[in-house]
Symmetry: C2
Subunit: 766 residues, 2 copies
């Protein structure tokens, strides 16, 4: 029985955040601080003819001006895509790209300086639609020189297993459907902010709203030419990320550069408009999917052809390109399987990683297609899915290693709780139910930058005060990772949570963690923390056993005490600590996590993409107004297999957040452009769901107890988003009988589909 793990404990920083005492990046103020503002390109694609900064530099409130030439090296979060520079050097690639930066005594002075920078541009043909980027163009029109075959194609990923095309020809039932997904962005609460200080004694210190202090650390070193050990990156309290703060960004590099140049602290904080222009959100996607099955609805084959619109730079795009295909090979058994994804550059703000990275749009396509097939075959969509699920402890055709798998329990739970069997297909016109499933990685087994280090390291310190300090590079971005680390350590040492202090995400003091992306933190950092705590326990046990003459292996840590199984030993934690520290003082232990090796056999070293996968099944109930086309999500039943819920309240929060975010992409969110100019860079025009749009939620946590997760845990922060969108799409079909192949499902699209269906029916009648 656990005492701390498995409890719905408030986050260890909740009271600070609730009372306004938590320090976010923009809360840091230093004496003598400058402010930086940016000049951004007005053109989607143009050559820079000249930049004249002299008038800006002469402004009395301006302290420094920087342009592209000052920081000319290329970077990108993935070493394979170093295609971005801190500021545009020879040309601009999207309307909004930073061309110059001005540090001023006040924000007003910096803005005035920005207005005084004079840039002459020579516009080039802009590529705004992905289909245009697929074809050859004049070399001088290429967005990046390195693109293949004179096109603007950034990356092609293609894998095939067991000739899926042939399988589709053989299958008795096949559906080939086309889908289109608009680009969406993260819409986190806290705009980007960065504060940088520089002095010879401390070197460069960068406090930034980032999910990846480690990659920012490395990128600062490369771009500024400073050794890594002269740089310290601190992630303060963070107001949400969702992948949108998981790249090193130009504004971070520029702010650091200006701090070094001026010798003064420099602060950058984005307006909401700038956050939108920065983007790195989900790729707009065009997708054709073919799924074939037998008469019983058993899936025979899947093939997909996908084009994703990457915008002007690479970001995580190469990973997105693979994930779009690879993550179609579950949660169902599909032995003949293939995909091709092409990522293209366009002259728009770049796209990257966003919650559910790479799998959200393909999942919609797959789950809607399954729904169509179920309808074709008159098989209940739940039954069709139940007949196709992967089991536990198996390999997919593409060598994904599935260990624990609670997907069946998830589906049975939501089917039962939503009263599906009595209600699906039987609700009045305008009201419907839809089901969908999904699965997702618990961290990527491969680091972004190849190295010989573990995925993550956790250090613990225990001193005379009886407090344990956890040092971890993991970035709490609001998801509660600090709390989970404290819970894992407290549980292992049998301590109340208040005995455990977490110092996280400060590259000077915390061992490297790769960052908060791909749902890796609970699984990987949790395991490292568990190991460090077990070592600490062993150190204390050894000392107590020696001094108290009890067998070491009978000593247990529970309820703040150090006791032996037979009750002969019963020490307070503080007394145990006093014995353990006698003659050597404060203890330090280290734990780390290394992913199993890729490739090979399942029972041996076998691995695949991730060490473990989460699973889920969701059912949505919608109300569609046939007169207006408006879709309202009434209720969502969500069941997610997170292995073990280390903090059930946190897991519930993640599932609710996924429902909310999925709802937004499904029904209303969309990055809209005109001639390359973003039209809706604010929360009035970019419509995230409000509290009034929030449906009733019924959450079920399915605990499959992963054999390799810490206390059995897997991910919970991203996986629950995948089934949300198709469950809504499928529910719209159940409600009004039309299939929605494009997201967002806006009223105009619903009306158009209803009208088209009516026309088709009339044609059939006539």
């Amino acid at each position: 029985m656990t005492r701390v793990v498995g409890k719905g404990i408030p986050y260890i920083d909740a009271r600070k955040k609730a009372t306004g005492q938590a320090m976010f990046a923009d809360d840091y103020k230093f004496p003598n601080m400058l402010y930086v503002k940016f000049l951004r390109s007005p053109h989607p694609h143009a050559r820079i003819v000249s930049i004249d900064t002299s008038r800006a530099e002469a402004h009395p409130g301006v302290r420094a001006v920087a342009i592209g030439r000052d920081l000319p090296l290329g970077f990108g979060v993935l070493p394979v895509s170093p295609d971005e520079t801190a500021m545009a050097v020879e040309k601009v690639r999207y309307a909004g790209e930073i061309v110059a930066a001005v540090a001023g005594e006040t924000e007003e002075a910096a803005l005035e300086g920005v207005r005084l920078v004079e840039v002459r541009y020579e516009p080039i043909r802009a590529f705004l639609e992905p289909e245009d980027s697929l074809t050859e163009c004049a070399p001088e029109e290429q967005i990046h020189e390195h693109c293949k075959n004179g096109t603007n194609i950034h990356k092609i990923a293609s894998l095939r297993f067991n000739d899926p095309e042939a399988a589709l020809e053989e299958a008795p039932h096949v559906r080939t459907l086309k889908f289109r997904f608009a680009g969406v962005t993260h819409a986190f609460t806290e705009p980007m902010a960065t504060v940088a200080t520089w002095n010879e004694d401390d070197g460069l210190v960068v406090i930034s709203a980032t999910q990846v202090p480690h990659y920012l650390h490395r990128t600062l070193s490369k771009i500024l030419g400073l050794p890594l050990h002269r740089i310290r990156v601190i992630k303060p309290a963070l107001g949400g990320g969702f992948g949108g703060k998981s790249d090193p960004f130009p504004h971070e590099l520029i702010t650091a550069h200006l701090a070094m140049k001026t010798g003064r602290p420099v602060k950058c904080r984005f307006s909401r408009e700038e956050v939108f222009l920065n983007n790195h959100g989900r790729h707009p996607t065009d997708m054709t999917i073919s799924v074939g099955c037998d008469d019983d609805g058993k899936i025979q084959a899947l093939n997909a052809d996908i084009v994703i619109d990457g915008g002007a730079f690479g970001s995580f795009g190469v990973v997105t390109t693979y994930y779009n295909g690879v993550l179609l090979q579950g949660p169902y058994r599909i032995d003949r399987f293939g995909f091709r994804t092409r990522r293209v550059y366009t002259n728009k703000p770049q796209c990257g990683a966003m919650r559910g990275h790479g799998a959200v749009n393909p999942r919609y396509a797959m789950e809607v297609t399954l729904d169509v097939l179920a309808h074709d075959l008159r098989i209940d969509p739940c039954d069709l899915r139940l007949g196709n699920f992967l089991p536990s402890n198996t390999l997919t055709v593409g060598q994904l290693r599935i260990t624990s798998n609670g997907v069946k329990d998830c589906l049975l739970a939501v089917r039962e709780r939503s009263d599906w069997d009595r209600r699906y297909g039987k609700l009045p016109f305008g009201r419907g139910l839809g089901v969908a499933c999904g699965f997702y990685i618990s961290g990527s087994a491969l680091p972004i930058i190849w190295n010989r280090y573990p995925q993550t390291v956790v250090h613990l310190k225990l001193d005379f005060d009886g407090g344990v300090v956890v040092y971890s590079g993991a970035s709490d971005i609001g998801q509660g990772s600090d709390t989970v680390l404290a819970q894992v350590v407290a549980e292992t040492l049998g301590l109340p949570l208040e005995r455990v202090h977490v110092k996280a995400a400060d590259t000077r003091h915390t061992p490297v963690d790769l960052g908060s992306y791909s749902s890796r933190v609970t699984f990987m950092v949790g395991n490292a923390a568990l190991k460090a705590a077990e070592k600490m326990k062993a150190e204390i046990s050894r000392a107590v056993a020696r001094e108290k003459k009890v067998p070491e292996d009978t000593i247990m840590f529970t309820n703040g005490r150090v006791v032996s199984e037979d009750g002969g030993l019963d020490l307070s934690w503080d007394d145990g600590v006093e014995i353990a520290l006698a003659g050597r003082g404060a203890l330090a232990t280290s734990g780390w996590y290394i992913s199993p090796k890729l490739g090979g056999d399942f029972k041996g070293a076998g691995a695949g993409l991730s060490p473990s996968y989460s699973f889920g099944a969701f059912i949505s109930e919608v109300e569609v107004n046939p007169a207006t086309g408006h879709v309202r999500v009434v209720k969502v039943w969500g069941a997610h297999d997170c292995g073990r819920a280390l903090n059930p309240k946190a897991v519930e929060g993640q599932i609710e957040g996924c429902i909310h975010m999925g709802l937004g992409q499904a029904l209303s969110e969309e990055m809209r452009y005109n001639a390359g100019h973003l039209l809706n860079s604010n929360f009035t025009d970019y419509r995230i769901p409000t509290a009034l749009d929030t449906p009733e939620m019924d959450i079920t946590i399915v605990e499959s107890n992963d054999p390799e997760g810490p206390f059995g845990a897997k991910e919970a922060g991203e996986g629950p988003i995948h089934p949300v969108l198709p469950s809504i799409g499928n529910a719209v079909f159940d409600a009004v009988g039309v299939r929605m192949y494009e997201l967002p499902i806006t009223p105009d699209k619903v009306l158009a589909a209803l009208k088209a269906r009516k026309n088709a029916e009339q044609e059939q009648v006539s």
Copy 2:
């Protein structure tokens, strides 16, 4: 050959301090911060009849008021003297004691609140002269109830070895002289300041200008009733301490209490007047010393009777009481030796530890008495001293274990450099030379609070960036301990200094160190850092040896490289780190220092007061104006044996500082009272030497290479002060023929002595 150790390197925080970027306690500002001000007693000794805080509490700018009853538990830096409370409870014991504290929105509001607190007192007989405190008084007049035999005697320390009284009767030459020393205070640059924050998530955080975060941590826990692990004490940049910040103080406890009471950050900063009222400076001392020697000037015996005026509370006084006697048993061989010291309470600000703690005044008495004896015997004062020095590797009669000892080299150096033999006794009237020697501890072998932990622990962290972080509780108070730790670690790992970062004196993150007092840091923390670095080296060596197939014991770390003796291996440090961290990530190592055990034989476990002792010899040249009585120190030749100078510039700075401080006590500094009221609580009336008073200084560092010190180092921060004062006193005698038995040697005293001598000569003549 060393590359970093032994070099006169600028302090690692020097540039920050020089450019104003270092953060001192008063630089910390938090949103919503309150300010605390104190009501202080106008009476030296009085019963508190009543306190009415209602009007203060009703003031619109006041947020909280605290009085003695709120924090009634007794405390003191020594567990044997818990005789102080955060604020006066039933009575006040000195004029200036804190009676109430007010937290206000502004300093002005807090001051207004202080004015509105109404206190009624009933004065009691005040004890202002130590001789009054030696005798019995009415119980209700006792300053503390616990005083012995109805007196105000706080502590009596007395030790005798080999019947010194009998030896003095037998000795052919004996001098018994009386000395009197005024009280002096530290006069550090930075007034006390403390900022405290409290919230449920982080607990209590106290940022304070303290030399002893660890004792403050413990005292906060006791007085506030908070568990140790809920408290974090941070020592920021510090503007000098000299012992004056080495107790936990009432204002620190009160500030923390008010932060907890209000839930808001609270700042306290002292005015200079408050610093003086806080005091804890050197005890005013009355001393009778008898020294006997044979015809050759060989010392036969020493006996001393000492009364020290402790003021109202204990502070470090019990230690002072012992040190006053114990530290007379060197640097000369004295086999028949005794002393009695009585510390009394008086109704004045308390006295405690100050640079050279416990040995400055007795040293003056001893060295002047030796000068008198040398004059009696017509032996050169240098020769007399040379004939009496303790050797290296010996025990004193009181079991002080002397290891390295460079005192003879020190004396020979200053004798040579000052041209003593040609000039002593031969300068024109009004100009003279004086010599004196001294020795001091390198840390106390006993902790203040008995426990089973080491004296100090240092943790190191090494991560992929190739930087090493040193975690130490040691408090850099301006003496440069952070720099010395960085040097020791850099030297051991063969790194340039910039690769090493020091995180110090933050009780949450740094292993316990007992604090910066008794000159313990370089010796003890230096040893712990050395051991931690050697462990780090071993970890790297092992990994490199395994991977590169070279014998582990041939691997050396030098010049930022990892090489083998035969040159077959030559890796950059970063490559070595990459190998060492492969498969396990960031390394953590721990080193600690435990003093040798007290008692026993020298070659065995023998120890004594300190693990090692510094030695020194100084010669001063003065000019005395017989018309005005004014003494000007023209030049000081100082030689100090610090074992090995890890940073010669730092050692020189310490010696220069000791000359300056010694000069102040010798000639001008004095805490002056009228009826218990301090008269000169400012730098106009309390006269520390200015730059214009600073003599020419000729510094010699004698390196005796202590066998147990880190790289051979011993202390350098306190020992050099001891010989300064008597060398000036003795020089005055050489200049104008009068002995100065009272400090400071103010012009009026010189004139009086000259007049007395003239009268005596005239009497002899008549």
